[in-house]
């Protein structure tokens, strides 16, 4: 399952989409909106995605992961739109027969997602806003 959604992400649903009776191990990463960045309080965030390309890029990451680890299941849900601190921005879940692979594959997927998938976030502070990572 690859999902880009404006709704609250239901973690349980993502885990279930990645699970398989034969799995043995399921690793799940949940990324939440932090309430501060470089010491400044974050009021809210706006996420936007270039949706069809984001889904295609996530699929490429999954394809690469599948070559490296024996995935029995996987699911990725990324939220877009307005979010508040503490809310869940992304959930990645993978299942594998053995636990070590589940950790490695899940970490690979979230690390890659942050590098290549066209999704952007803007942080809003009490005194301004900024597109994250845009400038040096």
């Amino acid at each position: 399952m690859i999902e880009i959604t404006e709704q609250l992400i239901e973690v349980q649903k993502v885990i279930e989409a990645a699970s398989l009776k034969e799995a043995g191990a399921i690793n799940t990463f949940i990324g939440t909106v932090r309430n501060h960045t470089s010491g400044k309080r974050v009021i809210r965030l706006e996420y936007e995605a270039y949706e069809p390309m984001a889904i295609a890029e996530i699929q490429k990451i999954i394809d690469r992961a599948t070559l490296q680890w024996p995935l029995t299941g996987w699911a990725i849900s990324h939220r877009i739109g307005t979010m508040l601190p503490g809310e869940i921005a992304v959930v990645v879940a993978v299942s594998t027969p053995h636990r070590k692979d589940s950790f490695a594959a899940c970490q690979f997927i979230i690390d890659s997602l942050k590098q290549t998938v066209p999704i952007w976030k803007k942080e809003f502070f009490e005194d301004g806003d900024q597109w994250v990572s845009a400038h040096p």
Binding site: I119, K121, W131
Partner: protein, 79 residues
């Protein structure tokens, strides 16, 4: 050739619209980069700027056609 460019994130703020039309001198992604850089020097200050063609990251050598879906990909920050 006139191309339409989709914008996202900070590139939308810089170009001033969700979809911007540009007269292109040359036919490659590299040529588009040069035109963009000349017209919107603020793009050069970004950490990075990729250009996607038909929803794929495109190298500078790629030749564009008027029907391609072109998009600016400023530094991503998902997750």
């Amino acid at each position: 050739m006139i191309v339409k460019i989709k914008t996202f994130g900070i590139s939308r703020d810089i170009l001033g619209g969700r979809e911007v039309s540009m007269e292109l001198t040359g036919t490659s992604v590299g040529d588009l980069r040069k035109s963009l850089s000349k017209q919107f020097p603020a793009l050069d200050k970004l950490n990075s700027l990729f250009i996607a063609v038909n929803q794929e990251y495109a190298p500078d050598e790629k030749v564009l056609s008027a029907t391609d879906e072109i998009a600016l990909i400023p530094p991503v920050s998902g997750g």
